[in-house]
Symmetry: C2
Subunit: 223 residues, 2 copies
Amino acid sequence: MAAIKVHGAAYSTAAMRVLATLHEKDLDYELLHVDMLSGQHKKEPYVSYNPFGQVPAFEDGDLKLFESRAITRYISQQYADMGTALGFADPKKQAVSNLWIEVEAHHFDPNAQKLNFELSVKPKILGLETDQAVVAEYEPKFEKVLDVYEERLSVAQYLGGDSFTLADLHHLPTVQYLLGTSAKRLFESRPRVSAWVADITSRPSWIKVVDLRNQAFNSSKKE
Amino acid sequence: MAAIKVHGAAYSTAAMRVLATLHEKDLDYELLHVDMLSGQHKKEPYVSYNPFGQVPAFEDGDLKLFESRAITRYISQQYADMGTALGFADPKKQAVSNLWIEVEAHHFDPNAQKLNFELSVKPKILGLETDQAVVAEYEPKFEKVLDVYEERLSVAQYLGGDSFTLADLHHLPTVQYLLGTSAKRLFESRPRVSAWVADITSRPSWIKVVDLRNQAFNSSKKE
């Protein structure tokens, strides 16, 4: 039995963030499926892991965590010597990477999630119509963020600095979903953003996480 | 000239978060006022410090940062041996504190900011009427967060663990503003939350930051 357990659905963006970190670190883990489509994450026993009823929850031995970005930070630091270094030993370099972790959480993610919900979740999963007014409101906001990224990627190879870190990794799930929508063109129209997206989404660890997501979707359809 | 510079207004919740951290660490710093009421934070030269046009921005020698929670984390780690320890050396304890840092950012702050805007910024600064429908929408959401806090504070003295950490400190600015509004009763009706609020808002370093805020407000009125 693996010491590390992830409770969640492999199609959840927050769970995928944690799974990507575990794969980058070559860590064994057990994924305990929480069926979000039937609302398992809002009921006991799941809410005893996370009182806010959001996936994922995480266990490493006796340590219990939730909040995906706290989990990835823990894995990155606790298993610093394994797999990919997802941060910097130099505190000033790490501070800059942390800055872009905050930018993802407060600028990129809120807009990306709104667009993902309208362009992907509603039509593809919930069978609902996309609200084009919401798309028209959030696309320009999202583009402003991508413009800042285009500028940042002109002075650094990755958002967090000169190597791939959590600051990049945290973007992967929402980027991956948006690549399957009309929002793909917003990445493609910015050369440095486009190259960065191609780079980070082709990482072997990420391809494994996308496979797990696809399997989880297929299992859900059979249920 | 102090090596540490904070660009921002002392009445900004994000700037207050950084100032509180500097005072807890007994660090000298220079506060360079950015007049938000006239929109200085949305124009050059400020946007060269933060392309998103939000305060504060931060300098420590040649290091330039923005995003308040990345700045406080840097100060806490870089000056770990000075003033108050705002985190834990034990990685599992720190992981739990990091979890509550995320909860503040993703659950507490969005609701607290909405209420603060309606109950404080609009009537007291902008001379606008409070939208009671928005208050009625966000108060129950905010109460659900406080219910989780009440539970958490039954097993730990502070949100982040057994001592005051960044997980608590990050709450101070919005808590302070809300104490001046009708939302105060939401804290008071929960005994452990109420005791925690009384504890953290009475810290000497915080009282200095509130003084700076009051001075900044008075200066703004004279301009």
